[in-house]
Symmetry: D2
């Protein structure tokens, strides 16, 4: 028999929608829409030999998420995830819990210039993410944003790179820069001001817009610096930025020039730039 | 040899990004981001026997899209699609042309409260669609919206439906109603005011929000009526509305009630409601 | 109020897995794995005005699929779909029923050279499809295959096509031909030998393999002819064949030739060739 | 300015298709179809400050993959990935290279009982994967399989698990077990017999089929043990097995029993079981 070097199990993609209705009938509703993964590590070796006596069913994990959401105010996904992590950490055999969540934004539908109190539109494609890890008694909260799709039509260059025998790319001082930003920042222990997410999002977007980019890396670093500057509770930020290439179309066969006007957007291959910046 | 009863060919998913920069250096840029399909019908029977003399290459269709976009103002996808349809209709053998397009919305990134002139965010997940068909000398324009995801937390009932031996669904006067709206409306011949899209979108959303829904069908009809009311050029509207079920979770095993608070969002199966409403 | 020109509703993506176990304990099991859509048309106009008295709940449709599968031998998806269509056609208000199904293939896992009696592998990515339509008392059965992905490395040419000012594609006598075949054939009324699917699949594949292709259209036609030749019950066949372009990479910048050896496979844009062939 | 704690960049989803044709005209062709990611780490800090002098363009990485594939026999993805890793490791600034690949299987189309020499079918949905890492002068090869979808209709139980106040799941001695296997094993240094992949795949499948399962964990461990037993070069194996739940449908409202015959297959939520087993 061979030994287990590492193992983990849990329930993935638990879909929880909670409607918070306020105290009076006219109050605006709030929609909490979370997709949650629960993952446990611990003394589960016997399970792999067929003994389920320590194996909390993943179905029970799902039930727990729904039951614990009932009657509990969920101001931030992070605080609910911390409560779940505390619950599962107290189970027998468990040494480490990880609660992952993903959340789209539902905004009130505008009716006659005002937000409707109980009708919502999924207003953008991005997701608010979090990963809460409880390892023994230490809890770590990482919050993030995924699928924030942006593009700038100028103020982006890529030149001065090395040329070897396989290099054909032309240098350019003016190209389209397009990416889908994934960001994740780690809060210092005991931070509670999870509304910082909004400031970080604004810092990332404003910096992307105004930065004179020499490369994706160059802009990524400026964005990460700006994010850390607006949130003293963030210890680090990891940014993942695919370079969604927009290639200038060669129109010369048709007797036409192309002064940075007509592009083909490509899905693959794509550049992939990743970095973690610490305070 | 068996006869051809119908045939069509073309190029699908031509990705065109055009940057319109305005006349002076400070002018705000505009991003046109179209995914275009070109489809031709006509006297192409010989191609199926191996004679390519009438077979305009689909690669040529792609080149044509890029070349015709150069230097041409694209105010609406519809007007560019009409120009493409006219071009291909004039090719030998062609009797019918269909140009399909899909377009996400790029909005200026807000910096210090103002829209940035050349940095953009893909502000939501919906797509603006169009299908332009030129059949002989007659051109039909259908415009639409896809993936408009909405939810209301109340003002939605479903009761009074028939019960047979396979019916278990409880009647409800208060449920979540969630859907991803796909809409497509046909313009009267020679209509040119394609900015009507915005009014139709508002009418669909406001009606979804404020309608006292007896069923998805009931709300769909009200939305279609409202859309036709705000656009005299629209002859009809087709709405496709999947019913994205949010099921109330049974919390009684845990000693808890659930007064329309905790739901599980399900992907499948889903109800699917479709109708075309004419003026 | 505007009139309804057309409407339809139903339940989509009902996931049914049935295990048929045979009469004795050692018998090999059979797995039926169907994704079913039920769609109804009829006198449902009042539903759109908020009167649900004729609106069979889509939840009831789902229940019906599961209940009718119990104890009923499902030799072919088509025969089960016909039974479902007959059931729903007998409901009040219903004038037309469409039952759509999609089915992956589960093959016994080979253990020591023999198929295991109750362990299965989803042996390929293709789906077996069917659309059964009952309109009044007339039932039409269309069967098909989707996502049959094939490629040939030679015996495929594309030349002799017209050249206009937007044509840059080079003629070629030897290229890669790759596609994902979607096929759908209509059975003559009262046909019952739905196992013909296997012969049609073989005819499509063998013809794709051995045909000296002058174009996708040319090969599509030969494949359709071959399919109709092996199934006298098939009245027509519709084939949809995207041209998944494999572009020869230009290696001359690196001092290398490329005698049809190194290709880049592209997802988009792609050619799209469709035809219906009748007997 | 904040420091970089970690960074990496490269090109993702380079699509390479190579046709190996053999020496004489009648020889069977071989199709190599790889999707490759190249990722570099090293002294790239200045790039993040806008100095591109050390930033090998990701476009050059793509060109390198195509050029190095020309004229080079690719027996296994692993050997080609090692060659790529060696090439990039020799570039200035680079300290670590990771080459990831994914490869579907193309099998000859059977024509008259024989495999056709140059026509192929993508015979199943699974992917062969590899991750080759060169860190300084040490090279690690991890090979794997992804998306191997299997199901067993009996010989699977789940009982004896703990019950707390949130547990509702019934114990069962006979359920469907279905999963999509992802496996990845690490070869000992200098291993070259990458054809071991086939033996490991067989061991995984045969063990899945014949194991009397007490849980997904129990079967996962048996599969991992079997895989290591047939490949002395494998130091460890990591298995990821989502539990694709098939829920018994309650037919009692319809007056029917359901002796493990009718199931609803669910996509989400799903159990997720992961473990790494070492020799």
């Amino acid at each position: 028999m061979t030994p287990l070097a590492w193992d983990r199990y849990g329930k993935a993609r638990i879909r929880l929608v909670k409607v918070e209705r306020g105290s009076d009938a006219d109050a605006a509703h709030d929609v909490i829409d979370l997709t949650i993964d629960v993952q446990l590590e611990g003394a589960f070796g016997a399970v792999f030999d067929g003994d389920n006596s320590a194996c909390l069913a993943t179905d029970t994990m799902k039930n727990t998420v729904y039951a614990m959401a009932r009657g509990r105010r969920i101001e931030h996904a992070e605080t609910f995830a911390i409560a779940l992590a505390d619950h599962f950490a107290a189970q027998p055999a468990v040494s480490k819990v990880q609660i992952t969540s993903s959340e789209p934004e539902w905004s009130p539908i505008a009716v006659g210039g005002h937000g409707h109190p109980h009708a919502f539109i999924q207003s953008n494609a991005e997701q608010r993410t979090s990963v809460v890890t409880r390892d023994g008694s230490a809890t770590t909260v990482i919050s993030g944003i995924a699928n924030l799709v942006v593009l700038k039509t100028t103020d982006s260059a890529f030149s001065g790179f090395p040329r070897d025998r396989f290099t054909t790319l032309a240098e350019t001082e003016d190209r389209i820069l397009a990416t889908s930003i994934t960001a994740a920042w780690t809060y210092r222990r005991d931070a509670t001001e999870f509304a910082a997410r909004s400031r970080i999002r604004t810092a990332l977007l404003e910096t992307f817009a105004t930065h004179h980019s020499r490369s994706v890396q160059h802009t990524l670093k400026a964005m990460g610096d700006a994010a850390l500057a607006v949130c003293a509770d963030a210890l680090d930020i990891t940014l993942t930025m695919p370079n969604r290439h927009h290639l200038l179309v060669d129109l010369t066969p048709f007797g036409l020039d192309n002064p940075n006007e007509i592009f083909v957007a490509t899905d693959q291959p794509y550049g992939l730039i990743e970095a973690r910046i610490v305070r």
